[in-house]
């Protein structure tokens, strides 16, 4: 058991550190500022071109085929340099890798990985949140195209995306989970309206609503087989629960590092409660960092993800919310100060909802890991 770097890992870390010295865009935290989202495309492409994004994916899709533990190094070094975290889209890649045909993978994945094509995920609907399988967006075959009608919501990055991975009902006669298919839909067309959806902390460029009114997509853009949409969605959301796919461990480390520096620069300003809240943020963020090391090491056995993703999602959520509490506490509410801490705190409330609520994760743990009879 060794948390230390191998020679190859150490060399990768050194190269990344040197690269960051001249390529750090110094964007604000992703959770607090539209300026981050405006700069994310360029950051993604730059990180990829430097050889540090997607290094653990297969070479056929633009990765370098490295072991998963290299992503931990990227997260740690980005945080240590005060650079933005890696873009969070691993779950989309994993979904298409598992369910797409060879041609689909060749066509779409390199562009997602290298950051030239921007994607969003059209799953949730106003009446289909936790009960995703009740979604009503429809796709009707018309010649060699499908015509899509429906309403997607809480869609991250929809304003910036060229493509949307849409779940739509293709068989209204089939059982709820069986009649759903997945499509890669081009966003730039008359049948699609994208509306920004401001979050509770005021940022406008993360969330969106997407309205489909006769949008058209070639039938060759279906990902997987007709009716395979539910299985694909489950693959995607199960990876969306994993901190290593999101790069969030690095985001928390960066936020904690900034707060530690802030408090150290003027400790007399902070009372014992504020300092204790910061202490828990340190402890939780470090917990998540070493927990991800442990999970990614298990992957070296070829073990793929399973129900333990729900454990990781709760650990990630508790970490995000401990970091958010510290940000609120240390930042304070004096209107003379900037409100970054408040924004970090408010943004953190989404973590216990997105990718499956904390309550859904607990149901999954009780059912699939503890084997308690379903209620």
């Amino acid at each position: 058991m060794d948390f230390g770097d191998s020679l190859e890992e150490a060399a990768f870390r050194t190269r990344l550190r040197e690269w960051l010295a001249s390529n750090n865009p110094r964007l604000p935290a992703s959770s607090t500022d539209d300026e981050y989202w405006a700069g994310q495309r360029a950051w993604h492409q730059s990180l990829y071109d430097g050889g540090f994004f997607g290094a653990t994916w297969p070479e056929e899709i633009g990765g370098q085929g490295r072991p998963s533990v290299f992503d931990v190094i990227v997260d740690e070094e980005l945080a240590a340099a005060g650079a933005p975290p890696r873009p969070s889209l691993g779950y989309l890649v994993e979904g298409i890798l598992e369910h797409g045909s060879d041609e689909t993978k060749r066509r779409f994945l390199p562009g997602i990985v290298n950051g030239r094509d921007r994607w969003c995920q059209g799953f949730s609907e106003p009446d289909a949140g936790s009960d995703l399988a009740s979604l009503r967006t429809s796709a009707e075959l018309d010649g060699d195209e499908y015509v899509i009608t429906g309403h997607k919501i809480w869609t991250s990055y929809s304003d910036d995306a060229e493509w949307c991975l849409v779940l739509a009902r293709t068989d209204t006669g089939a059982a709820k989970h069986k009649g759903i298919s997945a499509f890669a839909v081009p966003m730039d067309q008359p049948g699609i309206e994208q509306r920004p959806l401001p979050m509770i902390n005021g940022i406008t460029k993360e969330f969106g609503e997407v309205l489909f009114d006769g949008a058209r997509v070639a039938s060759s853009n279906m990902i997987g087989q007709p009716g395979e949409g539910w299985a694909l969605a489950m693959t995607v959301v199960s990876h969306e629960r994993e901190p290593q796919q999101l790069g969030f461990a690095g985001r928390y480390q960066k936020l904690v590092k900034d707060m530690v520096e802030q408090v150290r620069s003027d400790p007399a300003r902070y009372n014992a409660d504020q300092i204790r809240d910061l202490g828990w943020a340190i402890v939780e963020a470090e917990m998540l960092r070493v927990h991800v090391c442990r999970r990614l090491s298990e992957r070296l056995d070829g073990v793929t993800h399973g129900p333990e993703g729900s454990i990781d999602k709760l650990l990630m959520t508790w970490t995000e919310q401990a970091v958010g509490n510290a940000a609120l506490s240390v930042g304070g509410l004096n209107p003379a100060d900037d409100d970054t801490g408040l924004k970090v705190y408010l943004y953190g409330r989404a973590q216990s909802v997105m990718g499956g609520t904390s309550q859904i994760q607990r149901n999954l743990i009780a059912d699939r890991i503890l084997h308690l009879a379903a209620s």
């Binding site: 058991m1 060794d2 948390f3 230390g4 770097d5 191998s6 890992e9 533990v69 931990v72 530690v260 408090v263 150290r264 400790p267 300092i275 204790r276 910061l278 202490g279 828990w280 340190i282 402890v283 939780e284 470090e286 917990m287 070493v290 927990h291 090391c293 442990r294 990614l296 090491s297 298990e298 070296l300 056995d301 333990e308 454990i311 709760l314 650990l315 508790w318 309550q359 994760q361 607990r362 149901n363 743990i365 009780a366 890991i369 503890l370 084997h371 308690l372 009879a373 379903a374 209620s375």
Partner: protein
């Protein structure tokens, strides 16, 4: 980086688990079965697990903090009522001081707060505690030299060992009346780095013990929830109960990750970093263990509030392991000091 247990480490884990399954207390009543307890003790002695921190010829320990933590976790999981933590820390202090090996059962003395090793100034403070003292004839204390930046090793006799909060690991109170005898050393004083290393080991081992206890508590409560019927169905089929147990499992898994890291850090990082990792892990594990063990009692309902149910044995052992070398508050202070916020305590 590869933080999986090696095949040899996995085999060690299995062998400890086998011994504890066979000879550990399976019920509260079995805690009084002295014949069983003696067999467990004999098996632990014969296995050599207590000697993992004994030096090889070059002064390095026979095994790393990882192996010691593997043993501690499995002993905690089985509520083993045989000493391990005390003798292992005593061996570590002797190793760091280049002192000869103990000739009889030995443990360590902690300050009355339990949050650090006892340091004798003139004599021992009253209310100092020789922990994990079953079968120990003596316990090690530190004697400060010069400006508290170096210590020599000394020992006090141990008598009247008694069960306290933890029903599985009795301790002995020592104090100003205890004669402090400096141990013959070949000129090696303990530096504050040495003290930090030993504290990091102690914290890592108590974290591992807490992880083992949490595993045991979750298993016990999950088993009970599956079998206990109310309203014509198992109580484990109720979402309210399921969510309590799910949270307990998640806390245990987070604890396991930080405890493993702390155990690795003991020998792989410098003493200051090792102590920082250990303090973070202990703050996390101590808080988690309290919640997990209380959850087990809650899930057991009325049964969980009776002496006969093992749930309180988990909680009691966790309460002691949490306080040994400092609980949540003390270690949070160490964490913050490590990040340059607030004052350092006596450990550094």
């Amino acid at each position: 980086m590869d933080v999986r247990l090696s095949p040899v480490q996995e085999a060690l884990r299995e062998s400890v688990s086998l011994v504890v399954d066979r000879l550990g207390p399976r019920t509260v009543r079995q805690l009084d079965d002295l014949e069983r307890a003696e067999k467990l003790e004999a098996a632990v002695v014969a296995s050599g697990w207590r000697d993992l921190r004994v030096p090889e010829v070059d002064g390095a320990p026979l095994a790393s903090g990882v192996e010691a933590a593997i043993v501690a976790e499995e002993l905690g999981h089985g509520l083993a009522d045989a000493p391990f933590l005390g003798p292992t820390l005593a061996a570590e202090l002797r190793r760091l001081a280049s002192a000869p090996a103990a000739t009889a059962g030995e443990t360590v003395v902690l300050a009355p707060s339990l949050s650090e090793f006892a340091v004798a100034v003139g004599g021992l403070q009253d209310g100092s505690v020789a922990i994990d003292a079953q079968g120990a004839e003596s316990a090690l204390v530190l004697v400060a030299r010069e400006n508290n930046d170096a210590f020599v090793l000394a020992s006090v006799p141990v008598a009247s060992v008694a069960v306290g909060v933890d029903l599985t690991r009795p301790s002995a109170v020592v104090g100003s009346a205890s004669p402090v005898a400096v141990i013959d050393q070949q000129g090696r004083a303990l530096s504050s780095d040495d003290r930090a290393t030993c504290a990091a080991l102690g914290l890592a081992l108590t974290c591992a013990d807490l992880v083992g206890i949490m595993r045991g508590a979750v298993e016990l409560a999950t088993g009970y929830a599956s079998s206990r019927q109310q309203f014509g169905r198992s109580v484990g089929s109720f979402q309210a109960v399921q969510h309590l147990l799910a949270d307990a499992l998640v806390l245990m898994e987070g604890s396991r990750s930080v405890a493993r890291h702390a155990a690795w850090a003991v020998d792989a990082l410098d003493p200051e970093e090792a102590l920082g990792a250990a303090a973070r892990a202990k703050a996390y594990c101590a808080r988690a263990a309290r919640t997990v063990c209380e959850t087990s009692i809650q899930v057991h309902g009325g049964v969980g509030n009776t002496w006969e149910c093992l749930a309180h044995v988990h909680l009691r052992r966790a309460l002691l392991s949490s306080e040994v070398l400092g609980g949540v508050g003390v270690n949070m202070g160490r964490v913050l000091a490590h990040y340059g916020i607030g004052a350092t305590d006596g450990l550094r």
